[in-house]
């Protein structure tokens, strides 16, 4: 919108920062506050800011609902495949210890990959929800 000059410029500055912050939270789950779920929420917040300021149609052109559905499913797939890999390596479902040569290394790897799946699913699902909400509001008018 031509009149939203200030919001547009400030949002352009902030969106990459929010995205990077989300990734920081994603990967530092073991050391500080955070983890996959929180990171997904923050990522979605950044994208929702884009929706709020540039309008749903513009955001949708860049990340469509179809892509979101696919990525959301991928997140679940990543989660499940870690579990299945553990079973193939002779452990139980989601038994991290058998994923790598040492149990600690396995836990490390397992948690990072699992959290990635969680983050991906949460971020995409939240954005998809916003798209669908807006669609609903529009069709009910």
């Amino acid at each position: 919108m031509p009149n939203h000059v200030i919001l547009r410029v400030v949002a352009k500055v902030l969106i990459p920062v929010i995205t990077l912050f989300a990734l920081y939270v994603q990967f530092h789950g073991e050391y500080g506050p955070g983890g996959g779920f929180q990171a997904g929420t923050i990522m979605a917040a950044g994208l929702i800011l884009h929706v709020l300021i540039f309008g749903q149609r513009v955001t949708r052109k860049m990340i469509s609902l179809r892509v979101l559905r696919m990525l959301g499913a991928c997140g679940v797939l990543i989660y499940a495949s870690v579990g299945v890999t553990a079973m193939l390596n002779g452990g139980r479902f989601l038994d991290y210890n058998v994923l790598a040569a040492t149990p600690t290394g396995g836990q490390h790897l397992g948690i990072i990959v699992i959290e990635l799946g969680v983050g991906l699913t949460v971020a995409t699902t939240l954005l998809a929800l916003i798209y669908i909400f807006i669609e609903r509001i529009r069709s009910s008018d």
């Binding site: 919108m1 031509p2 939203h4 919001l7 902030l14 920062v17 929010i18 912050f21 920081y24 939270v25 500080g32 506050p33 955070g34 923050i42 917040a45 929702i48 800011l49 929706v51 709020l52 300021i53 540039f54 309008g55 749903q56 149609r57 513009v58 916003i130 909400f133 807006i134 509001i137 529009r138």
Partner: protein
């Protein structure tokens, strides 16, 4: 001691903002008060970090500073247009 006194001051300021958000009278007064409340929350979290002596809290404060802004923009859009996507008609 000094930090606790500062925390009390922030809480007092938060109470004042909260009173304004309850009193209104217009929806914009309420959003303004909530936004101001959010800024004070950021300070309070940072202060808690200093009291606990842990820098972890600052991540939370940092995040809150960013998210508080998004919340205000969303609320203000809702108040202005009664919807989230009314600016879709513009050139974006």
């Amino acid at each position: 001691m000094m930090l606790v006194a500062a925390a009390v001051a922030v809480l007092a300021a938060m109470a004042l903002a909260l009173a304004r958000s309850l009193m209104g009278p217009t929806v914009f007064d309420k959003i303004l008060a909530v936004n101001s409340f959010g800024t004070k929350t950021v300070l309070l979290i940072a202060l808690l970090g200093a009291i606990a002596g842990r820098a972890d809290y600052l991540d939370v404060a940092l995040l809150y500073a960013l998210i508080n802004f998004i919340a205000t923009v969303a609320l203000m859009k809702y108040a202005e247009y009664g919807g989230m996507e009314a600016n879709d008609e513009g050139e974006g």
